[in-house]
């Protein structure tokens, strides 16, 4: 089943890396990119986003802020926070928002594991 994944990262390079893994592992999925939390929130309204991959470290608002905004609108959407900084505090906050944590640099294996969990969750939710 085709899913639409939103990738939010202020670094274009980082978005390209995620996208290349997605193209390889989930060739039929659609990828939507946002360079920041503001743009991401705009895209959420019209694009039929299923899954969000959000960089933690962004100017203005961090990824956890965006995740909590998304959580307010959609309690079920699978979200992953991407960060090189596996700090307990960030992990705990992600857990609280029912978001997964995927460590940067992103490995195909780790992203694939998250995506399988995410599809499971979507299926569970009847989506």
């Amino acid at each position: 089943m085709t899913r639409t994944v939103l990738v939010v990262d202020d670094s274009k390079l980082a978005r390209m890396v995620v996208k290349s893994i997605l193209v390889k592992t989930r060739a039929d999925w659609r990828v939507v990119e946002a360079a920041g939390p503001g743009q991401a929130l705009d895209l959420l309204d019209g694009e039929g986003i299923d899954i969000a991959l959000i960089d933690f470290n962004m100017p203005e608002h961090d990824g956890l802020w965006l995740a909590s905004e998304i959580r307010d609108r959609d309690p079920e959407m699978p979200i992953a926070i991407l960060s090189a900084n596996a700090q307990d505090a960030i992990l705990a906050r992600a857990r609280e928002l029912d978001a997964a944590f995927v460590e940067k640099p992103i490995s195909e294996e780790a992203l694939a594991a998250f995506l399988s969990g995410a599809t499971l969750k979507l299926r569970r939710a009847g989506k």
Binding site: S116, G117, T119, L120
Partner: protein
Amino acid sequence: MTVRLSDRVIVLEGDCPVDEAEALLDLLLANPNAPVDWTACRQLHSSLVQVLLAARPAMRGVPESSFLQRWIVPIVQGS
């Protein structure tokens, strides 16, 4: 499919990912006395291990991976 029923034996093959746990559970519920053959299993997601532990079917063969052999076989087949 890495989980299937073949001649009244439930077969686990290759890398069995998380979403196969439901398939395994359904097979075990539908075939309560069917043994599980995991000879060709290379990886078993925790979700499938927990289904095996809850159902305690008769196990056949020894899986390929050394982790499964050394650690999971004794637990799944233990008393």
